[in-house]
Amino acid sequence: MPNTQEAAFQINNAEMPNTQQLEDFVTQVRRDIVRQVHKVNSGHPGGSLGCAEFITALYQDVMDYNSNFNMDGIGEDLFFLSNGHISPVFYSVLARSGFFPVEELNTFRLLNSRLQGHPTTHDGLQGVRTSSGSLGQGMSVAIGAALTKKMNNDSHLIFTLHGDGELQEGQNWEAIMYAAGNKVDNIISTVDLNGQQIDGATDEVLPMGNIKAKFEAFGWDVLEVKEGNNITKIIEGLKEAKSRTGKGKPVCILLHTIMGHGVDFMMHTHKWHGVAPNDEQLKDALAQNPATLGDY
């Protein structure tokens, strides 16, 4: 939850939202995702939909942050999105958590917009602390931020999100090795295990074996959230992960999600990784996710 009253949108003001309110928030985020990509006929709805519950859980419940954005982020939890192509879900949650006007979602991927195809700090969009999109770089950046928090005696945490296909980039394993070897125990890195990437199933494109065993072999404390589209289970998992920080090991959450979750024809396939719905498909997707907080 935001730790200031600056947020343009807040649920129950200072009180934690209940499960229904969180689910309503997620439903609205799904609408925002498909509307953003439909308008410009580009973007990545599949992974965005699959992570709608997770990003919502972070910003509406788990993280302690200041929605009056400051790049240095001292005294607050920070989030780094490494798989930047799921920008539609990131933008929607940021806007609806008070970082920038919700109406700005109308500018996604348009010329002169701050909402670039992949997130960037370049145009001063509040809530974004690193550019991402070229895959595999986010964990290193997050480790750097985590180390600075330690140097600053700042007890807040670093959260990250990575795609499972993204783990094919070697830099991740440099970072995974470094974090464990140097006891970076104020970081919680979540891997979106949806089993899909652009060219097909991850098991077909490049089988990655046992990801849990790999993280554990590198020295991480790993927990799994089997129902990665159930916001209650996600929050439980994130709280469990928080309880395991500060114990000498970085913490990994393996989040089992369904790509395209919440829009039936987009689910269980890689085909909607980077394809926008047409007018008819948009209508169908929106009918499955009735407006809860009001469209932008």
Binding site: G73, T121, R129, G133, Q137, S140, V141, Q171, Y178, G181
Partner: protein, 317 residues
């Protein structure tokens, strides 16, 4: 012509190491990262005195650049140290996205640049790094000429907000600039006054340019030597003022002619004051094993080459 004295050969990388150690004392936000080349980069003193601000990343340069980027969030000023090859070509996309495009205040400090790395050969002798770095929007690119200047530059870049590429080298070379110099990013240093030819040099070639100027003087040619330590942003005013006086220019650098200082100067001249120019640089080639002196001789990067280029360009006026 003004004469310069070599106060004793010293390596530029030691200037970096000593400058970094001084920053450790004076700026608590300065942190240092190294990818398993602490001794080569002369970072030992910083590491010994400020262990809580020194980060050994192992042989993982991509991760090092990413960590450095993230460390800026919260106010640290990270200095990364490894060879120039591993500081640039190996991690180009990490610098591009996580540092330059993300506008992070990271100082990428690169030793063993160019042919003078010597016997290790072409795998380690990058001659493309100035080009790679100067093409990145927002990146400041500096190539220092001696120990004193490298130390001064190291200290100066901590005060500059924004990404910097600081390039220096391995061998002990003439130390001739003053120990108390104030290093101004983007400000050319006019070393000699002349009227027949302008010699614009960077890095190890600056001392060679001064030797060349003396040899030219003996031949009755008056050379104006400019030390361009900052390749980006380029001090165009200083270059144009000199070239308008001399009417021709030689650029000298330990780098490929493609993408280097010479091309930046050529662009400035083409846009403002078209002028005959000769390039002392490597000719689109890789290096090889050898001593630094042998390599600079074979690839035409020394005072003799600058003299020949000067005589040639004067004839083209």
């Amino acid at each position: 012509m003004k004469k310069y004295t070599n106060t004793g050969n010293k390596d530029t990388r030691s200037g970096f190491g000593d400058g970094l150690a001084e920053l450790g004392r004076t700026n608590e936000n300065v942190v240092a990262l190294c990818a398993d080349l602490t001794g080569s980069l002369k970072m030992d003193e910083f590491k010994a005195n400020y262990p809580e601000r020194f980060f050994q990343t192992g042989i993982a340069e991509a991760n090092m650049i990413g960590i450095a980027s993230g460390m800026t969030i919260g106010g640290k000023i990270p200095f990364t140290g490894t060879f120039a090859n591993f500081s640039t070509g190996r991690v180009y996309d990490q610098i591009r996205q996580s540092v330059a495009y993300s506008e992070k205040n990271v100082k990428i400090c690169a030793s063993h640049a160019g042919l003078t790395l010597g016997e290790d050969g072409a795998t380690h002798q990058i001659l493309e790094d100035i080009g790679l770095m100067k093409m990145l929007p927002g990146m400041t690119v500096i190539n220092t000429c001696d120990y004193n200047q490298t130390k001064a530059a190291t200290i100066a870049i901590a005060e500059h907000v924004g990404p910097v590429y600081l390039r220096f080298g391995r061998p002990k070379v003439a130390n001739f600039t003053t120990a108390d110099q104030k290093f101004e990013i983007g400000k050319a240093v006019n070393l000699t006054e002349g009227k027949d030819v302008t010699i614009i040099a960077t890095g190890h070639l600056v001392w060679e340019a001064l030797i060349a100027a003396e040899q030219l003087e003996e031949k009755g040619i008056s050379a104006e030597v400019i030390n361009i330590h900052t390749i980006k942003p380029l001090d165009e005013a200083a270059i144009l003022a000199s070239v308008k006086k001399t009417g021709c220019v030689v650029t000298a650098e330990e780098h490929n002619f493609l993408g280097g200082l010479g091309e930046s100067v050529a662009r400035t001249l083409t846009l403002n004051h078209p002028t005959p120019q000769e390039f002392v640089a490597t000719n689109d080639t890789f290096g090889e094993s050898g001593t630094p002196e042998e390599l600079m001789e074979k690839y035409g990067l020394n005072a003799d080459a600058i003299v020949k280029a000067s005589e040639k360009v004067i004839k083209r006026k």
